[in-house]
């Protein structure tokens, strides 16, 4: 059986002839924690809404658990859970009543699941307090509890830590990691907290103005975001082999122009330089690049589209 749970092909969405997502194609595999990253209006929420059946694609297809028909997709969605924009909650009902109503609506027979879900998000002791008296963080956690009620196979979460305090953010992160590892739930998550995503995601999709600009795994991204030395020489073609043979350095990337990116033993740059020189290769540039996810993101999506707060976090998606 294929481990591809969601297959998005050439998805396009237009509103009033304005294209908000253009030709998006990607796959979500079992066990992934996929981060959708992009500035306001990049199309993250639109993609999630299309997966959830709230909006219809203008072009392209979305297959979930192999289903593409309306009926099949509706059935597939019953194996998923979503938290998009506003968390699920009736304001006049208590947390427990909200989950009970959801349980009835979903036709779930197991009432004990309500207690488990409330306990998972630390809302088991809020009593009969109506949701309208909850803090934003509590509402977010209730939304996650609602998501967990039916033991989903895929969770789709739009800005799940939005409005949470640092303690709440850590709690949600740990919960999501636990769900991914222990319950084998595949997660698709969007967040403006890039540092947060970097502690969660196994894969990333970077979006800009409705287009996917990069689809990359966490390992690849870490490599790209890793500090490295850029080495340019008078004979770049010899550098990889030379460094491998003489210094056993293999973590090297050759740029299109021929310059080499060195990710390994970068604190020994003097020795590396000396080795190259002694073997007839003259370094013309040795430049240290320190990179992180946010810088990488900025380079990718363009600085002018990005808003930062004091901790250099990118603003929330619309």
């Amino acid at each position: 059986m294929s481990d591809i749970l969601i297959d998005v092909k050439n998805f396009e969405k237009q509103y009033m002839k304005k294209t908000v997502v253009k030709d998006a194609s990607f796959q979500v595999k079992e066990g992934m924690i996929l981060g959708l990253v992009g500035p306001n209006g990049a199309g993250k929420t639109t993609i999630m809404k299309a997966m959830g059946g709230l909006i219809m694609p203008t072009n392209g297809t979305i297959s979930i658990f192999g289903e593409t028909s309306e009926k099949g997709l509706a059935h597939s969605r019953s194996r998923m859970c979503f938290m998009i924009e506003t968390p699920y909650a009736k304001q006049n009902l208590s947390a427990r009543e909200n989950l009970e109503k959801l349980r009835i609506q979903k036709g779930l027979p197991d009432k004990s699941r309500i207690d488990e879900a409330l306990k998972l998000v630390n809302l088991e002791n809020v009593g009969k307090k109506p949701v309208k008296q909850f803090s934003l963080g509590m509402k977010q956690r209730l939304g996650i509890a609602a998501s967990l009620l039916s033991k989903p196979e895929i969770m789709v979460l739009d800005e799940p830590v939005n409005g949470l305090d640092p303690e709440g953010i850590v709690a949600v992160r740990e919960l999501l990691l636990k769900l991914n590892r222990e319950e084998k739930i595949t997660i698709i998550i969007s967040s403006h907290l890039l540092s947060e995503l970097s502690q969660l995601c196994t894969d990333y999709i970077f979006l800009r103005k409705g287009e996917i600009v990069e689809n990359i795994s966490s390992e690849e991204l870490q490599k790209k975001c890793h500090d490295y030395y850029r080495i340019d020489t008078d004979n770049n073609s010899l550098v990889p082999a030379l460094l491998k043979n003489k210094m056993d350095i293999t973590d090297i990337e050759v740029e299109k122009g021929g310059a080499v990116r060195l990710f390994e033993r970068i604190d020994e740059i003097r020795l590396i330089s000396k080795t190259l020189y002694e073997n007839g290769v003259i370094p013309t540039e040795l430049h240290m690049h320190d990179a992180n996810l946010e810088q990488y993101y900025m380079n990718l999506v363009g600085e002018k589209d990005v808003q930062y707060n004091e901790s250099t976090e990118v603003s929330a998606d619309s």
């Binding site: 809404k49 059946g53 909006i55 597939s76 969605r77 998923m80 006049n92 609506q105």
Partner: protein
């Protein structure tokens, strides 16, 4: 769809606003009753059967069903409850018709409380009266729900299309007043249309047919009273019920066709 209706029931029972609306409805009925009495038409004059024909409770229950339908359909659109039902695999047809049927059931409850119960109470206190036989009263009381049903379907469709409970209350109010105005113009011969012929197309006209069909004034026990000349023919009953069902199906199907094609915000 059944699960959505059960969830709606759970929500309505636990929502205090449901009871506030019901209580406000009772208070308004009492205020209206006092006003009728003070305007020279004592309740004992009206009696049980007169409550069916003269009190205008059908019309009153339409306003209450408007508020409930707006809450059942509109509030769930506003707070994204409907979105979450679709996200969890609910079909749009289940979301739409589940709420439509819940609104109709709520309409039945409102009708029983504000139209049927007053007739029972008035009969218990003042007797049935002379205006119409009990059998005819029961038929007309049962038929009285037919125009209410038509209004509920229109309100639900308006709410799903406007996606706003406030907007639907406003438009529903305009619809009620608009229909009433046309019906009044027909009654006063400003429009050359037979009210019986207008009934299949207008909920308020059908309401009028049910409450005032075939009456005449008579002098009984020293009082001028409105009495029934003849029973309502089966053909009229069939016309009222049939037209309500046909119009209800057409309006609700058209509303669903638009709702199912529109993206959810």
């Amino acid at each position: 769809m059944y699960n959505i209706m059960k969830a709606q029931k759970y929500q309505l029972i636990r929502d205090n606003v449901t009871y506030y609306i019901m209580l406000a409805g009772v208070i308004i009925v009492w205020i209206v009753a006092i006003m009728i009495t003070e305007e020279g038409m004592p309740l004992d004059h009206m009696k049980g059967c007169g409550t069916i024909t003269d009190a205008g409770l059908n019309f009153y229950s339409v306003f209450l069903t408007l508020i409930f339908t707006a809450r059942i359909c509109g509030d769930d659109i506003k707070d994204k409850t409907i979105n979450y039902e679709i996200l969890s695999g609910g079909k749009k047809s289940a979301v739409y018709f589940g709420r439509l049927f819940t609104s109709i059931i709520m309409g039945v409850i409102v009708y029983l409380l504000y139209c049927v119960l007053p007739v029972i109470l008035m009969t218990a206190v003042f007797g049935w009266g002379e205006a119409l036989p009990v059998r005819e009263g029961v038929i007309r009381l049962a038929l009285g729900f037919v125009p209410v049903l038509r209004f509920i379907i229109m309100f639900a469709v308006i709410t799903f299309l406007t996606r706003s409970s406030l907007g639907s209350v406003a438009l529903g109010f305009i619809l009620i007043l608009g229909e009433s105005l046309i019906e009044m113009m027909i009654q006063e011969d400003f429009l050359p249309i037979d009210i019986n012929k207008a009934a299949p197309f207008m909920a308020s006209a059908s309401m009028d047919v049910i409450s005032t069909y075939n009456y005449k004034m008579d002098y009984i026990n020293g009082k001028d009273v409105q009495v029934l000349k003849d029973m309502m023919p089966v053909s009229t009953i069939a016309m009222l019920v049939g037209s309500a069902l046909v119009m209800g199906i057409i309006v609700s199907a058209a509303g669903y066709a638009v709702f199912s094609k529109k993206d959810m915000d």
